[in-house]
């Protein structure tokens, strides 16, 4: 072995030759082959991998859609209809892409929920979690930009409403909006830049996903018990155990995805977006896509425009400081009886906000949205810090392997019987 070459363990001469010069095979083997993974993952741990698959599907379908799409206010709507009618399997590409956005948010929301419930945001995974929030923000921006491209009524009016939010910024707000639009209203320059950015951001997302996974492979994964693996008896090699388990989740994901694409492709869309954009006709109710509804509800819950924008932004930005708001040393909510209930109520408030966001801004929806917004923030700013100091957690199991392996040694006096029944 010449100096400077990596000492490869692969037998195949071609792989060995490449691996000695660029040890990608050794790296893959280390990170996805033998990578020690906690043995007690439940199916919630599927969703990170699913999100990556979803991102790849979005980029793949998006590239082919872009070959047939025309980013011009006079032709965009018709070019999308041409994709639906005259491009071979164009309808499939477009429905996979449009419903893929919804699937992406379903997957990511479950992935974030997993992090919140099992305390995956806590030390040492704070940066890993923050990178995840960056990905979430990029995803939201990309989804919003993409929804504008078909240039239907909701595209146009959604773009108008959302870009106008920036006008709430004091002094420079109006100038910022003009700058974003590239003119004095949402028009062709807006569509062109949105298209450009919609193509750019997924690749930026891909870069941050790489960092997210790199950070994950430094700290290792959290697990449903939220305790650290104490040795090889607590872990399994990623392959074949988790490649097999993830495959099961992947198929279920594909079945849900296929049911949407083939049997209800427009269920999650808005009928108004099949009417070409008309700047002179405002739709009676302008609603964003379902995945933005909770945040839209928060925006409208505040009577003041700037306040609403700040709160809406804050509802996501608050996740960046979540690792420091939650001071409890216990990660998994399984061992935090009070915080667990508070978090489940928070989940309810999230869905209530989603429901209110789809309703016209009238009573009782405004009042309900305000109460839900209040709880949404109170959970992070009041309940978690208070419980971190006050709550007495349930005793943690001694190790991961003990509750998993039946008869794996004597139990430390009543330490784990109760919580594990739930698991």
């Amino acid at each position: 072995m010449a100096i400077g070459l990596h000492e490869s363990e692969f037998k195949n001469p071609v792989i060995r030759w490449v691996d000695a010069r660029l040890p990608v095979f050794t790296m893959m083997q280390k990170e996805y082959g033998t990578f020690p993974t906690p043995r007690n993952f439940n199916y919630f741990w599927n969703f990170g991998g699913l999100a990556l698959v979803n991102l790849v599907i979005m980029i793949a379908t998006g590239i082919f859609l872009a070959m047939n799409y025309t980013a011009h206010v006079n032709f965009a709507f018709d070019s999308v209809e041409r994709i639906m009618r005259d491009v071979n399997y164009g309808w499939l590409l477009r429905y996979v892409h449009a419903n893929g956005a919804s699937m992406f948010f379903i997957v990511i929301y479950i992935h974030i929920w997993r992090a919140l419930y099992y305390g995956s945001y806590k030390a040492p995974r704070e940066l890993l979690f923050m990178l995840g929030v960056v990905i979430f923000l990029l995803m939201m921006a990309t989804a919003f930009l993409g929804y504008v491209l078909p240039w239907g009524q909701m595209s146009f009016w959604g773009a108008t409403v959302i870009t106008n939010l920036f006008s709430a910024i004091p002094l420079v707000g109006e100038s910022i909006v003009t700058w974003l639009w590239g003119g004095f209203s949402v028009d062709n320059p807006t569509l062109n830049r949105f298209y450009s950015l919609h193509y750019l951001l997924p690749f930026v997302t891909f870069g941050v996903v790489f960092l997210h996974i790199a950070a994950l492979h430094i700290t290792g994964s959290n697990n449903p018990l939220g305790i650290d693996p104490k040795g090889p008896q607590d872990t399994l090699p990623f392959h074949p155990y988790y490649t097999a388990k993830d495959s099961v989740g992947l198929i279920v994901y594909f079945i849900v995805f296929a049911a949407l694409v083939f049997f209800a492709p427009n269920l999650l869309g808005h009928p108004d977006n099949y009417t070409p954009a008309n700047p002179l006709v405002t739709p009676p109710h302008i609603v964003p896509e379902w995945y933005f509804l909770p945040f839209y509800a928060i925006l409208r819950a505040v009577p003041d425009k700037l306040g609403g924008v700040i709160l809406m932004g804050g509802s996501i930005m608050i996740l960046f400081i979540l690792p420091w708001l939650d001071t409890s040393p216990i990660r998994s909510m399984r061992f935090r009886p009070l915080a667990r209930i508070a978090l489940l109520v928070w989940l309810v408030s999230f869905f209530v906000l989603m429901y209110c966001g789809a309703k016209p801004p009238e009573e009782p929806w405004v009042l309900i949205a305000r109460l839900a917004t209040l709880y949404y923030f109170a959970y992070f700013l009041v309940i978690l810090p208070a419980l971190g100091a006050k709550e007495r957690g349930l005793p943690l199991p001694a190790s991961i392997s003990m509750p998993v392996l039946r008869g794996g040694g004597p139990l430390p006096a009543g330490a784990m019987a109760k919580p594990m029944e739930k698991a």
Binding site: E81, W91, L92, Y241, I251, A258, N266, P271, Y274
Partner: protein
Amino acid sequence: MAPLRSRLRAALLAGGLLLVGGAPALAAGEALHPPDTKFSFDGLFGTFDRASAQRGFQVYKEVCSNCHSMRQHSYRNLRELGLSDAEVRAIAATVQVNDGPNDEGQMFERPGRPSDRFRSPFTNEKAARAANNGALPPDLSVIVKAREGGADYIHALLTGYSDPPEGVELMDGMNYNKYFAGRQIAMAPPLAGEGQVEFKDGTTATVEQMSRDVTTFLAWAAEPELESRKQMGVRIILFLTILGGLTYAVKRKIWSDVH
């Protein structure tokens, strides 16, 4: 998935009724919810009733197309409804299409060809509004996808005209239709009854029949891929279900030494 959609809709409606305390007094201007109509293209295995869609095209051609365009469609698309090549050519040739410029630089009129788009009744939006009391007849290419309630709504709207109930004042030139938002619609009742259209296959052209047929035609026009989409979906989900079973068995086998 029409059944799922209608069930969702029913649930939402029921919830809404509960919230207003089951009060039957809907506001005068509020549109009625279109009733669930059974169509040939509903459900997992739905297909378009070709005869109905062909009759529907006839209704569109003889009635709707006087005001409504279908810009996304070409005459050639009608072959998918089972019309022969000669029939499509004959239909296309009945319209005059503005073409050019020719070698002399002049625009000219020529008979339509199968590759031409459906001819629009008006040259532009202004002309359409001027001829329709200020209202714009929407393009019907994707109308079934562009309205809440889809085909059910179109059918309900076309058959939902009546005299206004007592005490309801209609604006000038408006018509009463309980399924339209605001219950006042600029479109005059388009389907008058027997004799308006003469179907070649002898079907009696009642308002209900014409409405069903033209709705089927418009549903096809909005989603010409529906049949291949649903067929592909059934196959893919069957395949995934079997693959999922196998994958789960493999997973169980691999994990058997851990549990």
